[in-house]
Amino acid sequence: MNPLIRDSTAIAKKDLKQLRRDPLSLALTIMFPILLISMFIVISGAFRDSHAVPIVIADQDGSAQSKMFIDELTVSKLIRVAQLVQTEERALETVQAGEAIGSVVIPKDFGNKLLNGRAAFVVLQTDNSKVTASFTVIRAVADKSRELLNKLNVQFNVRLVSVDVVPRPVSGRPPNGDFILPGMLGLITILGGFDDAVNAITRERERGTFTRLVLTPMNLFSIYGGKMAAALVVNAMRTAFVLMIFVFNGLVIQGSILLIFLITSLISMFTMSLSMMMSSRIQSSATLTIMEIAITFPLFQLSGAFSAPEMLPAGGRAISRALPWTWGNEALRRVMYLGLDLNAISPDILVLVVSIMIFLPLATLLSKRTM
C-alpha cells in the first residue's frame, strides 16, 4: 500500500476514535444542525403563520365604505386593530409611543371618491425601525385595499384597475417556502468544517500531541490528509443527518444525493484548509473558534446562503462572488431544487477545487513554518 494512503488512513482512524471518546464534541456535531434548523423553523414559521401586529385606525370619513374597509382590516390574519382613535394626531402619537406598529388614517371623502370612479387614498404611518412588523402591516393594508375594491366592484359595479400577479417559481415550489434550506446545509457545513479543523489541529496542539505526531516518520501531507479524511467522514454523517431532517420536513430533493455529498465535501475541505491556515497564526483553540464564529455570521448574508449575490449592492456582490462558499451554496441549491447535473454545476465545482488546491498547500506550508 502507498505509504501516504496508509499513514493518512491511520491518522483518520485515530481522529475518529478520538472524537468517539469526546462526547461533548460528538454531541455538538449532532446538536448544532438540529438547533440551527429549529431556529429556522421558528423564524420561517412566523412569516407563514398568522400573527397580530397591532395597528390603530382613525376614520375621518365615517362612510359605509370606510366602515367596510375597517371591517376588512379587522378580519386580517396579519394585523390586529388595537384601537379606533378620533384624530390623525392621536393615531400618529400611538405609533410614536410604540403602542402600535402602524396607524391607518381614512380621510374625508374616501367613500364618495370610490363610488364615483376616482382615486381614494388612505394614509399609513408605520414604525419602520421594526422592519418585518412594519412590512407586514403595509402588506396587510395593501391586500385589504384590493379586497375592498373587489367587493365594491361586485356590490356597486365600480370600475377597477386590478392586475393579478400570478407567481410561478421554476421548480414549482411556493415562493414563500423553504428557499433557504440548501443555504442552511451550506452554512452547517462551513461551521462544521471550522469546528472539525479546530478539533483536529488546534486542540491536538494544545494537548501537546501534535508535535509528537509531527515527529513520527509520517510526512506532514499524510497527517493533514488523514485529518481531512476523518473530517470528511464526520461531514458526510452531518450532511446525511441534515438531509434526513429536511426530507422528514417535506423537502423533495430534485437532484442527485451523491452530488450533494460531493459539494458539501468540497465546501468542508475548503473551510478546513482556511481554518488550518488560520490555526498556524492563532494558537488558542478558543480564540480560533471565536474568530471563526465571527467570520461565519457575516457569511449568512454574503455567501449567498439566504439571499442571492445579485441582490446585494455592487461591493457586496463582488465580495460574495469572490468567496468560494457562495459557489458551493449556489451549486447545492441548483442540485437540490432545480435537479441540475454535474455538467451544469461544473463552474461552481471548479471554483471550489481550485480554491482548495491553493489553500491546502498554503496551510501545510504555513503550518511547517510555525513548528
Binding site: 405609533v95 388612505v122 399609513l124 419602520n128 370600475r159 410561478r168 428557499f179 464564529i293 457586496g316
Partner: protein, 386 residues
C-alpha cells in the same frame, strides 16, 4: 484608609485586566479591531451605504409581452419608472425566457398574456405571470413584492406619471400613502451590528477570561485574595466597559464617516444604550463563569447565545410577529429590550428616558445577573477557603 480600599482594589483589578490584555496582541487585534471592523464592513457589503438600496434594481429580468397592446406597453413603462427594475429586458419569447431561468442570465420573467388589455377594458382584473428562479434565494419574494407594489400604481388609461399619488380617470383605486421615516438597510443593520459586536466580544472577554483564569490556576488565587468580590466584579466591569467604548467608536466611526449614516440621537444616548447591552452581557458572562464552566463550554454557549439573539431578540424578526413559545422567550429575553432601546433611540430619535418599561426590564435583569453571580462566586470562595 479603609474608605479608599474598595476603589484601590477596583483599580488594581482594572489594571491587572488591562495588563493581561496588553500582553495578548491577538486579543487586542480581534477584540478591538477585527470584530467591530469586520462586522461593520460586512454590513456595508450586504446593505450598501446609508442610501436606500433596492435589491431588485440590478437583477436582469425578462419582460415578455404577448399582448402587444397599449395597456401592456404602459405596464412596462410603469415597471421601468418605478426604479425597482433597472434591468428589464425586452425581446425574449416566453419559451426562451423559461429556458434561460435557472442558468443565471435572467432571474425572473414577467409575462403579459394575450387579452390583458381586453380584460381591463371589460372591468375584469388583468393577469400577469411572473416566473422566478427559486434556485436563487430571496429572488422570488423580492421580485414578487416589487411587482405587486408597482402594479398598484399602474394606470392603463392616462399618461404615466411618476408622482406617488395617481389619479386614474374613470377607475376606482385606493392608494396607500406611506408615512413614517424610511431607514436604509445599513442604518437598520447598524443597531443589530452594534449589539452583535458588543455581545460577541463582551461575553467572551468576561466569561472566557474567567474560565481561562480558572484553567491557568489564577482564578482561585484571585478569589481567595483580600480583594472583595464586589471589587473584582466592578473592576472587570469597568475594564470591559472601556473596551466597549473603543468598539462603539470604531463601529460608529465607520458607519458615519465611511457609510454616511446619520444618527437621530446624541452620542451620550447612544453610548448609554450600548452600555446597557454591555452590562447585560457582562452580568450574564459573570453568571456563566461563576458556575465554573470551562473555556470550551464558554465558546459553545457564546455561539448559541448569538444564535438565540438572532432568532428571538428582534435582530431579524420583530417580536410582534412571534407567537407561542418564541413570543414568550422574546418577552423575557432582556437583550430584546436592549436592542429595542438602541433601535428606538438611534433610528426613531425617541428620548431614552421615555422608554421606561424597556429600561426597567433591562435594569432589573442586570441587577439579577450580577446578584446571582455574586452569590455563586461567594459560594465558590467559601468552598476554596474550606
Amino acid at each position: 484608609m479603609s474608605g479608599l480600599k474598595v476603589p484601590r482594589d477596583i483599580l488594581a483589578v482594572v489594571s491587572n485586566e488591562l495588563g493581561v490584555f496588553r500582553r495578548n496582541r491577538s486579543a487586542i487585534l480581534i477584540s478591538l479591531i477585527v470584530i467591530p471592523f469586520f462586522f461593520t464592513v460586512s454590513l456595508g457589503a450586504g446593505q450598501g451605504s446609508a442610501a436606500t438600496f433596492q435589491p431588485t434594481a440590478a437583477l436582469p429580468i425578462a419582460f415578455v409581452d404577448n399582448d402587444l397592446s397599449v395597456a401592456s406597453g404602459r405596464l412596462y413603462e410603469t415597471l421601468v419608472r418605478s426604479e425597482m427594475f433597472n434591468r428589464l429586458i425586452q425581446g425574449y419569447r416566453e419559451d426562451n425566457a423559461l429556458a434561460a431561468l435557472g442558468k443565471g442570465s435572467i432571474y425572473a420573467a414577467v409575462v403579459i398574456p394575450k387579452g390583458f388589455q381586453d380584460r381591463l377594458m371589460h372591468n375584469q382584473p388583468g393577469t400577469i405571470i411572473v416566473y422566478v428562479d427559486d434556485g436563487a434565494p430571496g429572488v422570488g419574494n423580492a421580485v414578487l413584492s416589487a411587482v405587486n407594489a408597482t402594479v398598484q400604481t399602474y394606470n392603463p388609461s392616462t399618461e404615466i406619471t411618476t408622482s406617488a399619488y395617481v389619479e386614474v380617470a374613470g377607475f376606482s383605486t385606493i392608494q396607500v400613502v406611506l408615512k413614517g421615516t424610511r431607514f436604509s438597510g445599513f442604518a437598520l443593520g447598524l443597531t443589530i451590528t452594534m449589539s452583535l459586536v458588543i455581545v460577541f466580544a463582551t461575553f467572551y472577554e468576561i466569561a472566557g477570561g474567567m474560565s481561562r483564569e480558572r484553567e491557568e490556576g489564577t482564578y482561585a488565587r484571585l478569589l481567595v485574595s483580600p480583594v472583595s468580590l464586589g471589587a473584582i466584579m466592578i473592576g472587570k466591569t469597568l475594564y470591559d466597559l472601556g473596551l466597549n467604548f473603543v468598539r462603539v467608536i470604531v463601529v460608529l466611526g465607520l458607519a458615519i464617516y465611511v457609510y454616511g449614516v446619520r444618527l437621530n440621537t446624541d452620542f451620550v444616548t447612544l453610548l448609554a444604550g450600548a452600555v446597557l447591552i454591555a452590562l447585560l452581557t457582562m452580568g450574564f458572562g459573570l453568571l456563566i463563569s461563576s458556575l465554573g464552566v470551562g473555556l470550551r463550554a464558554v465558546v459553545i454557549i457564546e455561539f448559541f447565545l448569538i444564535l438565540f439573539l438572532f432568532a428571538f431578540s428582534g435582530f431579524i424578526l420583530d417580536k410582534e410577529l412571534m407567537k407561542g413559545i418564541p413570543q414568550i422567550i422574546a418577552t423575557y429575553l432582556p437583550w430584546s429590550y436592549g436592542i429595542e432601546i438602541l433601535k428606538r433611540t438611534i433610528l426613531s430619535g425617541t428620548p431614552l428616558l421615555s422608554l421606561t418599561s424597556q429600561l426597567q426590564f433591562v435594569g432589573f435583569s442586570i441587577v439579577l445577573f450580577y446578584a446571582l453571580s455574586y452569590i455563586f462566586l461567594k459560594l465558590a470562595r467559601e468552598r476554596l477557603l474550606k
